[in-house]
Amino acid sequence: MSHHPLLRASILAVLLLAVACAQPEDSTPPTETEEPAQTEQVVNVYTARHYDSDDAVYELFNKETGIRVNIIEGDSAALLERLRREGDQSPADLFVAVDAGRLAQAESEGIFAATSSPVLEERIPAHLRHPEGLWFGLTKRARVIVYAKDRVQGDEITTYEDLADPKWKGRVLIRSSSNIYNQSLMASILDAADEETAEAWCEGLVANFARKPQGGDRDQIRALAAGEGDVAVVNTYYLAQMAAGSPEDQAAAAQVAVAFPNQGGRGTHVNISGAGVVEGGPNQGNAVRLLEFLTGPAAQEIYAGGNKEYPVVSGYAVVPELEAYGEFEEDPVNASVLGTNNQQALMVMDRCGWR
């Protein structure tokens, strides 16, 4: 019967499956809490940051401490769901998200373990970390208004509220409300004003759209430079990266200027990427060491240089591109509020027809 095609096919399939199952288990990190002393020290990270500069940071950490960093990158919602489902069997030690709303959600679902670290508490300003050490900010990004230098004067638009002014009809560029940066911006506006005022603002903004919201933040900057609109709302690092990017991107970035909104008022909306130690993770000690390393000068410099974000630790240098935009006042609202207000923000945006 060895010539039997079906039999042969089945054997082949089973063999392939066996190979598939056997192979990755070698590379799966040990999940036991107590490891023999001679095995390699590891820390397992679930991260929503997807930048190559992060790899450089982890490599440096490995070189300095001998601890290997295993990572799974992915969408933060999916990673959080994975963490939740894996429960006490999860190999994860550290969860890294790129938005305060997500950190707040993970916090409320009991994913994080309280961490007490004098180093972290000293380095990170209080409004950019959880009061009981459930999560800590790693980098900052400001959501600013950018305008076309040749068509708009710098003093014409100074607040987020100005974006709803009818004078900007058909001139405002912004991405979809599906994007969490916009949801968090709306959440911060709901914190500053009552819902009725916030919704009126949102309606005014939608009425001013230059086009149906589409693309990412860089697309807004490119459209702005090309003349499809006159003002846009974007995160600072996208513009800074374009200013140091391809010739076309550099040309586009050169045509626009940054207005930090609400200076002299509540300040510019700032979002963070941040991380927390996972409750029940097998290598929590290593996770804390990694967190401390990530807020140290070497890592912060790579974050700032590679991805052009603002360091979360005050006093560290920002890249020249960001420095050129100047200093600014931040909206001091605690990141947790952005999470709490998220659903209300979404509802307002949907009602206003902001796709």
Binding site: P5, H50, A77, D219
Partner: protein
């Protein structure tokens, strides 16, 4: 007793089918099981604001992509099969090339090219000194844009199905048609097309299911459908996000059930096997002058816009501003994609043979229903399936650990969800439909008298499958395997969510760069992805010409 044997066989088949179907459908079931949970007012909110847009856009998109793919796929298949015109041999295989371009890459290439700030409109403005509002240019980020981009990427499913059917058609039916005085057009419309209907419908339903599940391309085109709405909802930092995403997924399932019902209706009670086994060279009609030129253009356009233009855009950008990790991309990461594709497609074809053959042996409402359920996953966005797999597989892992802890005092950890087992499982749920549809359509064309003859000669069902059907289906099995392979290599959401530590594939790498809006660097991975996808497409193309029974080998 013969009767008892048959009953026993029937039972074994039923249990086997139920097992496969159950496994494949479990991830969908666990997602839908969330439907009843409390949504914190989110569902009512969506229903009163965006849901009607989702319904309308999803229906319009499916109708548009379905019609356009049908026209492109059937027309080109007929032209290259029975007409002679310049470029016919080239187009025969080139028409499959767009399969190698993932739809989300096609969408990226076209939005980048045609949007307001893209090179085409920038050139127009510079040349004619226009500014915004001085000219009208079709909006690429629109429903119409999405329809065209998706149809250009998906029509090859219809083309492949239609061409296989036309090639396998007995020459006699066409000769009879000619004897009855039908010209090429009437022979096509009255004879060839109706005969090829089951195959074409199988191809079309794959297109429609892909369209329902499509996320990336639709998102690029700024169209809100169920698939994009499910992702948007799932990604909310909200404790009820999963529940409401599940409720939206359940709505999408209703569309799928409707689609499957329509497909069954379209195939109805007709029998489609050929009764004559006389296969000679197919007739070929020589086209001349403007007609030949028209045929050439009709076949060249889909290849040009579905493959050449996007591929050229990525090649250029990869050359100018490519990824620093290019070497790794082509070797290490490329190998991961290739191996995953090979294993998943072998599995999918094996399962499809078992399912469809089981159904052929014992055709009854139960087996029919199960074949359909096994292929539902194709219309469900990969992200939904990934979450379903995650829930199911981690559940199993916890059980395994509980038992192991009880028996041996030690726990093995996440043996399923932390390994490629979870990804491979996800691929079966998502893509089994592709192999089932193709194999099923081919099996229908094998006359039942063949089975009767084999059984009369004393062959057991297994022996009959091995000695009679599998050799007859060889081409189809290979084709099905290749299609699943291409789909797996292109697949993103499930791979992203379910992969083990540090495991990268080409689609994952492209996504990481693209989601960071670093599209220039993403081009290197995109190009590698296209090249890996070209391998099975090339094999498919070569094969197509050889599958004709009686053709010289």
């Amino acid at each position: 007793m013969v009767g008892d044997d048959r009953r026993r066989d029937g039972l074994v088949t039923l249990v086997g089918l139920a097992l496969i179907t159950g496994l494949v459908a479990t991830p969908l079931a666990v997602v839908v099981a969330n439907v009843g949970a409390e949504s914190g007012g989110l569902w009512a909110h969506l229903a009163s604001t965006v849901l009607s847009d989702y319904v309308r856009n999803t229906l319009l998109l499916a109708a548009g992509v379905g019609s356009l793919s049908l026209v492109l796929g059937v027309a080109t298949a007929w032209l290259v099969t029975v007409c002679r015109f310049p470029g016919r041999r080239l187009f025969r295989w080139a028409l499959l090339l767009p399969l190698a371009i993932p739809t989300y890459l096609g969408a990226y290439a076209y939005t980048d090219l045609l949007q307001f700030s893209g090179p085409v409109q920038t050139w127009l403005r510079a040349t004619f000194e226009w500014t915004r509002g001085d000219y009208v240019f079709p909006e690429v980020r629109s429903l119409a844009g999405a329809v065209v981009i998706l149809a250009l990427g998906l029509y090859p499913y219809v083309y492949l199905a239609a061409r296989t059917a036309f090639v396998e058609q007995s020459v006699c039916v066409l000769e009879v048609a000619r004897t009855l005085g039908h010209g090429p057009w009437r022979a096509f419309r009255r004879v060839a097309l109706p005969m090829a209907r089951p195959s074409i419908i199988a191809g079309l339903s794959l297109v429609l299911m892909e369209t329902l599940a499509e996320f990336g391309a639709v998102e690029y085109c700024a169209v809100d459908t169920f698939a994009t709405g499910i992702y948007r909802t799932f990604k909310l930092p909200n404790g009820h996000a999963l529940t409401v995403a599940a409720q939206l997924s359940a709505c999408l399932l209703l569309f799928v059930v409707l689609l499957i019902g329509l497909e069954a209706f379209a195939r109805r009670a007709a029998r489609f096997h050929h009764t004559s086994a006389r296969y000679r060279n197919l007739p070929s009609w020589e086209l001349r002058g403007p007609r030949a030129a028209l045929a050439t253009v009709a076949c060249a356009a889909p290849v040009l816009f579905g493959f050449a233009v996007p591929a050229a855009i990525f090649a250029r950008r990869a050359w100018l501003e490519g990824d620093a990790r290019a070497r790794e991309m082509f070797f290490e990461i490329g190998t991961n994609s290739f191996v995953l594709g090979a294993i998943a497609s072998t599995l999918a074809v094996t399962l499809a043979v078992l399912v469809t053959f089981g159904r052929r042996l014992h055709t009854n409402p139960a087996t029919r229903l199960m074949t359909r359920i096994a292929s539902i996953g194709y219309a469900i966005p990969g992200g939904v399936i990934a979450i379903g797999i995650l829930i199911a597989v981690t559940w199993a892992d916890h059980r395994i650990n509980a038992v192991a802890g009880f028996l041996f005092g030690t726990t093995p950890g996440l043996v399923l969800s932390g390994t490629v087992v979870a990804i491979l499982y996800g691929y079966q749920t998502r893509f089994l439909a592709v192999s089932i549809h193709l194999v099923q359509a081919s099996l229908l064309r094998v006359r039942p008298s063949v089975d009767d003859a084999a059984r009369t000669l004393g062959a057991s069902p297994i022996r009959m499958l091995g000695r009679v059907h599998l050799p007859l289906l060889r081409g189809t099995l290979l084709a099905a395997g290749m299609l699943v392979f291409v789909d797996v290599v292109k697949e993103l959401p499930a791979t992203l969510i379910l992969r083990p530590f540090g495991f990268e594939t080409l689609s994952v790498r492209v996504y990481q760069l693209a989601s960071d809006e670093r599209l220039g660097e993403a081009s290197t991975g995109a190009l590698a992805l296209i090249l890996v996808g070209l391998v099975p497409v090339a094999i498919l193309s070569r094969m197509l010409d050889r599958t004709r029974p009686g053709a010289p080998t």
